[in-house]
Every structure is written in structure tokens, then in C-alpha cells.
């Protein structure tokens, strides 16, 4: 059941009616309803994984209570319990997501050095969204241990935070200190928040159905048959791929955040106009923000503290390790690891050139868009991102190398150019106008039904008959 489907609309309509009409202002009942709805929603996606979600939630809840109890009286026990909880989270990820990868990698390594080794892969279920909910569980224990928040004694609120249906499959990864207090507060229908939520859902649908799905048709055809198309078509598809990724993932995030707003929640921001970034450090502050901020807080900062007397080298090591982990977070494949390493290495000139410490403010013009003088830096960053996505998209390093090779060979001329040009025009509109729409007084004065109706019409006329999978559901 995807968010932009009729079955979800029906599911949400029933939930919405019960939430605001039957249980209005009755926080406990609203939370029970959200918890049940979240588990029903998750069951549609991955029913066999329900016990994993439920057991890990219960264990983490009790660990949280124990850690809070021991924080003052027995700090060593509190640290040990936090370590156990974090190891359980990492263990879940390693087992369900990475075990077969480790087995086949070790077997390949032993075979390559002449030791005969047959890999036996296990048939392991991969629970959808495990990368998202385990990160929520771990951050809760760490925050309680760091005394940044109290352990909650409300199990239903905690379980709802972990399984919250708009975000469990594909994020954003909400932080417990921001989200659990919202679950404990009274929630009545807020017209302005709901209006913003509805707008955001329509915007997300437009990104997914009019941009991402359209671009996917072209990009998949060309990049899956790069040896046939080759040359300029492959280069063109490669340059379009970041836009497809953005429209797909930001589209889902917008829908999730919008659904959250309709239920009275403020969900973490996930994208902040990433293609206005002037270097790779800015890009990662604007792309998948909830993941990068998670890894910044729990991996980069502790590493950087540890290496703090190593100067720029300490920063560089911490960044490269963090970025490589971000790569592997996306999946159990060396190409993902290399994707992360590639981005980590792109940070090095910024670290050693002192750019990281001196942030330059992005100056905006009267339309609240970046000034034209930033265009070369923004385009260069975009090209670096596009190159990295070849690794991200390829199943093997050999495939990635073949795609790079095909860029410099094959026929010249764009295939299916006619279909892509209208999409490109839409892209120019969607990325820049959305920023203007959000901040420019001239446009934001337009009444919201006009803007939403316009977008809905576009969705109706431009979307494909069948909706493609969300790329980030696979992580």
C-alpha cells in the first residue's frame, strides 16, 4: 500500500475520521489508533517482519527505562545497557541486511587468493524499512543515556514513534526527543497545519508521478541498455538521474511529512533544495537530512572528538568513515560502499582548503533564488553527484565502469528526446519555482486551492497509468 494509491486514500480516510471525530483530544486513544494503523500499514508491506518490529520495540523500551534508572546510580551499567541496545540494533541490520553480503564477499576473497570456498547464502527475509526503524531505536537509547531526554513510560507512545506509518518505510528518520513529546501533547484539528500538509502531499505526488516516474522510463531504458544507446544518450540519462532520485525520494518525504501534518505532527525535514548546493558539503546538508544528521550526531561527532588533536586529518578520517557508512546504509553491495567513499573523498579538498570551517552564506535574489554567480559551482556539484550515482545504480563495479566507458563511445544523438523535453521543462519549473512558491511573497499570496488544483490537474494529465516503486523502499 503506497501513499499515492487509492487503497491508502481509503485507509487514511477511515483513520482520519476516527482520529478527529471519534477520538478528538483523547490523546491516549489517538495514539492507540495510530499504533494499530501503523502495524496494519506495515503488515501490508512486510507482514512476516511484524514480530521483528514488535520485539525490537519492546526490548528497546525496557532498555530505555533501565538506562534512565542507572544513569545516576550506576553509570557503568547504564553505559553497558546502551552498548547492548545499540549492538542489538546494529546486529539486526547486520543479520537481516548484510549477512549474505559478508558470506559472499568472504568466499570471493578466499577464492581469489586460491583457497577453494563455496558460499552458501541463507534465505533471509529483509524487513522493509529496517534501516529506518533500527536507527530510531538506537537514537532513543543514546539520547536517554546522554540525558538529552527522559525515558518514556508510555509504551504506546514509544511504539507509535517507532512504527509511525508515514515514515516507517522510507523515512524521514524522526528523532525521539522531537517526536515522542508530540505524541504526548493534545492534538486537535489545526486548519493551517492541515492545509500545509495537504499542499505538501499534492506537491510530493506531483514530484513522484509527474517527474520521477516519467524520468524513470527514459533513464531505465537508456542506463539498462547503455551498451546499445551509449554516448550522448547515456550521458544525458546520467545527468537526469539525480533529478529522478530527488523527485522520487523527496516526493515520498513530502507525502510522508504532509500526512504527518494532517494528523497534527511536525516531521523532520529531509530535503532543502539540494541542487542549490555549491559544494559537496553543502549538498549533504541539504540531501536526506534526517539520515546525514543522524550519522553526524552518532558517528561523525564521536569520531571527530576522538581524533580532535589530529587537526584536519582527524576531520578527514571522520568524514570518510561517516560517508562510507552512509554508502553502505543504502544496501549490502560494494558499489554502495564505493559511492560513500567517493563522496567522502570529495570532502577532502574542502577540509584541507579550510572551506568546511568558513561557511559562506548563499545570497538570494529578489525571487529568493540563489544569485546567478553561484551557477558554475552549483552545476559542478551537480555533475559530481551525477557521477557518484553511477556507482549507486550499478550492481557491480564492472557494470559501473562499463557505463562510464559507454559515455565516451557509441552513437551520438539523443534517443526519445521528444518525450524528455517536456519533462525537462517541468523540472526547471518544479525545482526553482517551488523555492519561489515557498518564499516569494508574490507567489505565496495565491490562494492554496488554486495552486493545489493546478498541480492535481498536472498529475491527472501527466502521470503514468501505473506508479513505479519508490527507490528508497529498497533500503
Amino acid at each position: 500500500m503506497v501513499v499515492n494509491s487509492f487503497s491508502f486514500l481509503l485507509f487514511f480516510a477511515i483513520l482520519f475520521a476516527l482520529y478527529y471525530f471519534a477520538f478528538n483530544e483523547r490523546t491516549k486513544l489517538q495514539n492507540w489508533l495510530l499504533l494499530i494503523a501503523s502495524y496494519v500499514f506495515y503488515a501490508f508491506a512486510s507482514i512476516k517482519a511484524i514480530p521483528i518490529l514488535a520485539v525490537s520495540t519492546i526490548v528497546t523500551y525496557y532498555l530505555g527505562l533501565r538506562i534512565a534508572k542507572y544513569n545516576d546510580s550506576n553509570p557503568r551499567a547504564a553505559s553497558m545497557l546502551t552498548t547492548i541496545g545499540v549492538c542489538l540494533g546494529i546486529g539486526l541490520l547486520l543479520y537481516f541486511k548484510y549477512l549474505n553480503f559478508f558470506i559472499s564477499s568472504f568466499a570471493s576473497f578466499f577464492n581469489s587468493v586460491g583457497l577453494q570456498c563455496n558460499a552458501h547464502n541463507f534465505n533471509i527475509l529483509l524487513p522493509i524499512g529496517i534501516s529506518f526503524f533500527t536507527f530510531k531505536l538506537m537514537s532513543y537509547l543514546i539520547e536517554v543515556h546522554r540525558r538529552k531526554m527522559d525515558a518514556t513510560t508510555d509504551f504506546v507512545a514509544f511504539a507509535t514513534f517507532v512504527a509511525f506509518f508515514p515514515t516507517i518505510l522510507s523515512g524521514p528518520i524522526d528523532r525521539p526527543d522531537k517526536f515522542i513529546p508530540q505524541l504526548k501533547a493534545k492534538r486537535t484539528f489545526d486548519y493551517n497545519l492541515a492545509k500545509a500538509g495537504f499542499n505538501q502531499i499534492v506537491w510530493g505526488m506531483f514530484l513522484k508521478m509527474c517527474i520521477a516516474d516519467k524520468l524513470a522510463v527514459y533513464n531505465d531504458s537508456v542506463l539498462n541498455s547503455y551498451s546499445f544507446f551509449g554516448g550522448s544518450s547515456a550521458l544525458f540519462a546520467l545527468l537526469l538521474y539525480p533529478l529522478q532520485m530527488y523527485a522520487d525520494f523527496a516526493g515520498y518525504s513530502d507525502m510522508a511529512i504532509g500526512v504527518g501534518k494532517l494528523l497534527g505532527f511536525k516531521i523532520a525535514l529531509n530535503f532543502d533544495y539540494p541542487f542549490f548546493a555549491r559544494n559537496i558539503a553543502e549538498y549533504w546538508r541539504k540531501w536526506h537530512i534526517s539520515l546525514t544528521s543522524w550519522l553526524t550526531d552518532y558517528v561523525f561527532i564521536p569520531l571527530n572528538i576522538h581524533f580532535r588533536n589530529w587537526g584536519n586529518w582527524g576531520v578527514a578520517i571522520s568524514i570518510v568513515v561517516t560517508m562510507t557508512l552512509i554508502g553502505f546504509w543504502h544496501g549490502a553491495n560494494w558499489t554502495f560502499g564505493l559511492f560513500g567513499l567517493y563522496h567522502g573523498l570529495l570532502f577532502l579538498p574542502l577540509v584541507f582548503g579550510g572551506v568546511m570551517l568558513k561557511r559562506r552564506k548563499l545570497k538570494l535574489n529578489s525571487w529568493n533564488l540563489p544569485e546567478v554567480r553561484y551557477l558554475p559551482a552549483m552545476l559542478l556539484t551537480y555533475v559530481f553527484v551525477a557521477i557518484g550515482l553511477v556507482l549507486f545504480r550499478s550492481d557491480t563495479l564492472a557494470e559501473a565502469l562499463c557505463i562510464f566507458e559507454s559515455l565516451f563511445g557509441g552513437q551520438f544523438g539523443f534517443s526519445w528526446c521528444g518525450n524528455v523535453i517536456p519533462i525537462l521543462l517541468l523540472i526547471l519549473l518544479f525545482h526553482d519555482l517551488h523555492k519561489a512558491f515557498n518564499f516569494c511573497p508574490r507567489i505565496s499570496k495565491l490562494p492554496f486551492p488554486i495552486i493545489s488544483s493546478f498541480l492535481l490537474l498536472l498529475i491527472l494529465f501527466l502521470s503514468n497509468t501505473s506508479t513505479g516503486d519508490f527507490i528508497y523502499f529498497h533500503f
Partner: protein, 81 residues
């Protein structure tokens, strides 16, 4: 050293590291209140504070600070002269 005096020195270190003479710290100041204070400059500030007061913080206490007051507690606990 008195808390006020420690705060004065810490304020100077912040202005120096963040290259902003307008920074005025209080015990309740957090990273949200100072624009240039992010995860990277945070470490630079810690290194500068450790060097100035000739002390060494543990990773756990650095990660537990919620505001400037808690940083000052850690410095004061070490009886800096």
C-alpha cells in the same frame, strides 16, 4: 577561577574560533543561538578550550553538554587556576 571569569575566557575563545566579535555567551546559550557554531566548529572550540585551560575533557562529558553552563561546570570541576 570564578565561573564568571571562566565564562569571559570561553567567550573570547568562541569569538576567536568563530571569527565573530559580536558573540555574547551566557550560561544558557546553546548551539542553536550561535549561527557559526556547528558540529565542526564545536570540535575546534573544544580543542581551543582544552589548550587554553590546559585540561582534557572525556568524550562522554563533551557529548552530554546541553549548553555553555555545562561546559563551564566541566572546566570549573577541574579547579583551573
Amino acid at each position: 577561577m570564578e565561573r564568571n571569569e571562566i565564562l569571559k575566557h570561553v567567550n573570547e575563545i568562541f569569538r576567536d574560533v568563530l571569527d565573530n566579535e559580536d558573540i555574547i555567551l551566557t550560561e544558557t546559550t546553546t548551539a542553536d543561538d550561535v549561527e557559526e557554531w556547528d558540529s565542526l566548529t564545536h570540535i575546534q572550540i573544544i580543542v581551543a578550550v582544552e589548550k587554553y585551560f590546559n585540561i582534557r575533557f572525556t568524550s562522554t562529558e563533551i557529548l552530554s553538554w546541553k549548553n555553555i553552563g555545562e561546559l563551564i561546570n566541566s572546566i570549573a570541576d577541574r579547579n583551573v587556576a
